[in-house]
């Protein structure tokens, strides 16, 4: 239901700014399990799901503008009707409760897509969420309603505050409206599968990435490399012929990539039940595509590789081994449900940037930028008070 609740959002933030009350910005909660929820209970909730509705959409302009609370389903449906899509193909996770029960059918809001900055299987070829953002309107921590960027692709007026919101996890303000670039849907698509070891699959992906192919996704798991081709029909047909893999049955392929993107694939099932005995921690590793694969310390069953080698999911309980591996290959890793690791010096500047938007530190985000909080996950109340000053 479309409604403009920006006045209420501004007034909630102004009240919080005046009183020092912390706020937790919430959408549908579909990505709630991705970061630690420690400390979040200290704040009041600012639910933005009511602030919704598509504000502008002209297909030939290749951009859609919608209020942040608009559901991803509504946006996807609107785009699909015009033969367009969000090229960054953001995941549609389902909200989970503490006991692992899957919530209702919600799959996230546009604001949540931007705030979390998580991109789908096509990221190396079709760009990330941040790449698609053209403009945002937001309420900063002082309750000021600000507009940055716009609806045009080229725009270098002022600092790029819009893209800075992608992956900021609500640290900098309440997103109110977002203009995001859209892309024509592929005229045709197909998925080819190859029986290959992880090493063979990696070599193949590296070679293919250097050629002109309509690649839109790669996934290796359990001895099978799946390649998604998408684009103009003749380009897909040509690539299909050139690559000569086994074609995944039409329809099955759509489900395969959606399940991978939304973590409904078997590999991720234990995400839903992290407390169950025998489940291992799930790690997300972003590494250079050509980085060496993990050694024998990791069972091959516990590895899933996307993004042509650049995104690797590991299931493993030995934190030190995973972290050492990620560092040794020049990447970074993040265990689902835990604090995102941030370089100490960079964290200091990020915290200053947060302060620039949110001087009283009223927005409680699960992604903690303050270094002293980062190294000490449970700060004493006095310390928190100092940061709020």
């Amino acid at each position: 239901m479309a409604a403009d609740l920006s006045a209420q959002m501004i007034s909630s933030v102004k009240d919080a700014y005046a009183s020092g009350q912390s706020l937790v910005i919430s959408g549908q909660g579909s990505k709630g399990a991705w970061l630690p929820d420690a400390e979040m209970s200290a704040g009041g909730t600012l639910d933005v799901t009511g602030h919704s509705g598509i504000q502008a959409y002209q297909p030939e302009e290749l951009v859609i503008t919608a209020r942040a609370g608009t559901s991803l389903e509504e946006i996807n449906a609107m785009l699909a009707a015009e033969g367009q899509m969000l090229a960054c193909d953001p995941p549609r996770f389902q909200p989970t409760q503490a006991d692992g029960v899957v919530g209702d059918n919600a799959s996230g809001t546009l604001g949540g897509v931007v705030a979390t900055g998580l991109s789908g299987p096509g990221r190396p070829w079709s760009g990330a969420v941040r790449d698609a953002i053209l403009g945002v309107e937001l309420v900063n921590g002082k309750g000021e309603y600000l507009k940055f960027g716009g609806q045009v692709m080229k725009n270098v007026a002022g600092y790029d505050v819009s893209r800075l919101q992608a992956g900021a996890w609500g640290n900098l303000g309440v997103l109110a409206s977002i203009s995001i670039r859209v892309h024509p849907t592929w005229q045709d698509q197909c998925t080819l599968v190859f029986q290959l070891s992880a090493e063979q699959a990696q070599q193949k992906c590296l070679l293919l990435a250097q050629q002109n192919l309509p690649l839109q996704g790669t996934c290796w798991q359990d001895g099978v490399l799946s390649l998604r081709l998408g684009g103009h029909a003749s380009g897909v047909a040509g690539a299909k012929l050139a690559l000569s893999g086994q074609v995944m049955q039409g329809g099955t392929d759509l489900e395969f990539w959606a399940n991978l993107r939304d973590h409904k694939a078997d590999f991720f099932q234990q995400e839903l039940f992290p407390q169950t005995p025998g489940t291992k921690k799930i790690w997300r590793l972003v590494v250079p595509s050509a980085a060496p694969l993990p050694g024998n310390w990791l069972s091959a069953d516990d590895l899933l590789i996307e993004w042509g080698g650049g995104l690797r999911w590991l299931r493993h309980d030995d934190d030190a081994a995973v972290v050492a591996y990620a560092k040794s290959v020049g990447g970074w890793c993040w265990a689902k449900g835990e604090q995102m690791p941030i370089d100490v010096v960079q964290a200091r500047y990020m915290n200053e940037l947060k302060r620039a938007f949110d001087p009283k530190n009223i927005f409680l985000s699960p992604m903690v930028l303050n270094q002293s909080l980062h190294t000490n996950p449970q700060p004493n109340p006095q310390e928190r008070q100092q940061h709020a000053d």
Binding site: E144, V156, G158, G167, G238, A239, P288
Partner: protein, 489 residues
């Protein structure tokens, strides 16, 4: 920020003690090339230019400047069009042109690691043996540096399909004014924490000094096709653009030129443009062969349906180069028509093109100054070139005033005052049209967060509220009176 020291001698001695002599320029003739960038109308003679050869030397220069409270004006190749590298009377120009090494080309990860002074085109040349290239191609690509591209978030003619600098830079090493060196990103598809890489792109040297860049490389397109289409009506050309994009085709490049620009370019470059056209489109398509021929045929159908009266298709490299030559020489060609011109850089939603061009025609008549329009039609970036004669008293001011009004039209049409050239010093006043005082204030707080001492390129990019307040002829922004709450200080 610290009070600016006027004691040039102490700063100079400190620099001389720290850096090799060949890294310092202090003599008048040597300094002359640094008094301006590509915006030649605005000049300021620097009193010292430093050209460090290593990151360690950049760190030293920054430390000295911070200690003395002296502004640091970062500079790449000096091709910027908005005065972003204009010297400051008390500042040190920090040129990065000597840091011009390609450190490595990594074909497996499809990235190049380069120093900031490397020329844009040199990256593609170095990657060519691997069948790879660096996509953003600003018109100055043979000269402009990648560090400058990052500072300005440089564009080019292939942005709709391949993106701007921000989409093609994966990592930077950056030095802050406080002396911290941060390595942000790398050959990685995303990074933890706030996206400072996005913030740095287009920050015009006001947040940090880039000392190394990791750029993404793409496979070279298998084949290209270039199509030239002539139209009797500008609106028909505009409709053709909408119809092609609306059909789900993303051309590698799509450029529009109006009659005056076409005539100037044709006289200059003999590209074979139709002189009787009200507008032409130059469309580049690329991809694998089968796909390319199918899409080319589709595009030609759309052009015919939109009323193109002449369509030429070039499949060989030589003819393609000829068709592009006219477009690429449009600026110097227009320069031959008139003693002086200024180039505007507004961006508008594509469907507003006819409306904005009509407004530009009206302004042209009102001011009595001719305008040639060159338009990156694919991404809505409009470059009206206003022709004038600086020797006629008052005409420079008239041209500037007219340019300001054109940019106001762009903002009113839902666009922006600069698509790819940056604010620099040139467009400071137009920022007051586009942003409210709260928004400008937010920009200043970002600046303070990254550059607390305020030494990095002061006075560029973001106008002070005082400046906006003092602007004559206050603008009404989206029906609101600007700055009702403005504090005077």
């Amino acid at each position: 920020m610290n009070p600016i020291t006027k004691n040039h001698t102490a700063v100079l001695q400190h620099l001389q003690r720290t850096l090799p002599a060949e890294c310092l320029i202090t003599d008048g003739a040597g300094l002359r090339p640094y008094e301006t960038d590509g915006l030649t109308a605005i000049r300021e003679m620097p009193w010292v230019v430093v050209l460090p050869e290593t990151e360690a030397q950049v760190v030293d220069v920054m430390a000295i400047c911070r200690q003395h409270g002296v502004p640091v004006i970062p500079r790449g190749a000096g091709t910027g069009l908005s005065g972003g590298a204009r010297p400051h009377k008390d500042g040190v120009v920090l040129g990065l042109s000597k840091m011009n090494k390609i450190l490595s080309i990594d074909p497996d990860n499809r990235v190049a690691h380069v120093q900031p002074g490397v020329r844009n085109l040199a990256i593609s040349n170095a990657a060519k043996p691997h069948g790879l290239y660096y996509a953003p191609d600003p018109s100055s690509q043979i000269a402009c540096s990648i560090g400058g591209n990052v500072a300005e978030n440089a564009g080019g003619v292939h942005c709709l399909k391949y993106g701007l600098t921000v989409h093609n830079v994966l990592g930077v090493r950056v030095l802050t004014s406080d002396g911290d060196v941060m390595e942000i990103g790398g050959a990685l598809y995303d990074n933890p924490g706030l996206d400072m890489l996005a913030l740095l792109c287009g920050s015009e040297g006001m947040l940090g000094i880039v000392t190394q860049v990791t750029v993404a490389l793409l496979p070279e397109p298998e084949k290209k096709s270039v199509i030239l289409a002539g139209f009797k009506q500008v609106t028909d050309a505009g409709n053709a653009v909408a119809s092609i994009i609306g059909a789900g085709i993303i051309p590698a490049g799509m450029e529009m030129m109006d009659k005056l620009a076409v005539q100037a370019a044709e006289q200059f470059a003999h590209a074979g443009y139709p002189l009787d056209a009200a507008a032409i489109l130059i469309i580049e398509l690329d991809g694998a062969e089968a796909e390319l021929s199918a899409v080319t045929a589709q595009v030609i159908d759309h052009l015919n349906a939109s009323g193109a009266y002449q369509i030429d298709q070039a499949d060989d490299a030589e003819t393609q180069a000829r068709l592009w030559k006219g477009r690429k020489s449009a600026f110097p060609a227009v320069g031959r028509l008139s003693p002086d011109y200024i180039c505007m850089d507004g961006t508008i939603p594509r469907h507003q093109l006819a409306h904005v061009l009509t407004q530009i025609d009206e302004l042209s008549e009102r001011f009595g100054l001719a305008v040639a329009n060159v338009f990156h039609a694919a991404d809505g970036n409009l470059h009206p070139l206003i022709l004038f004669d600086a020797n006629v008293p008052g005409q420079t001011d008239q041209a500037m005033a007219m340019g300001g009004e054109i940019l106001q039209c762009c903002v009113a049409a839902g666009g922006t005052v600069t698509g790819e050239h940056g604010i620099g010093v040139e467009k400071l006043d137009t920022m007051c049209v586009q942003f409210t005082s709260d928004e400008l204030d937010q920009f200043f707080r970002i600046k303070d967060a990254m550059d607390p001492s305020g030494v990095l390129n002061p006075g560029k990019g973001i106008p002070t509220l005082t400046r906006c307040g003092e602007l004559g002829g206050m603008h009404v922004h989206k029906g609101r009176l600007p700055f009702p709450e403005l504090e005077r200080f």
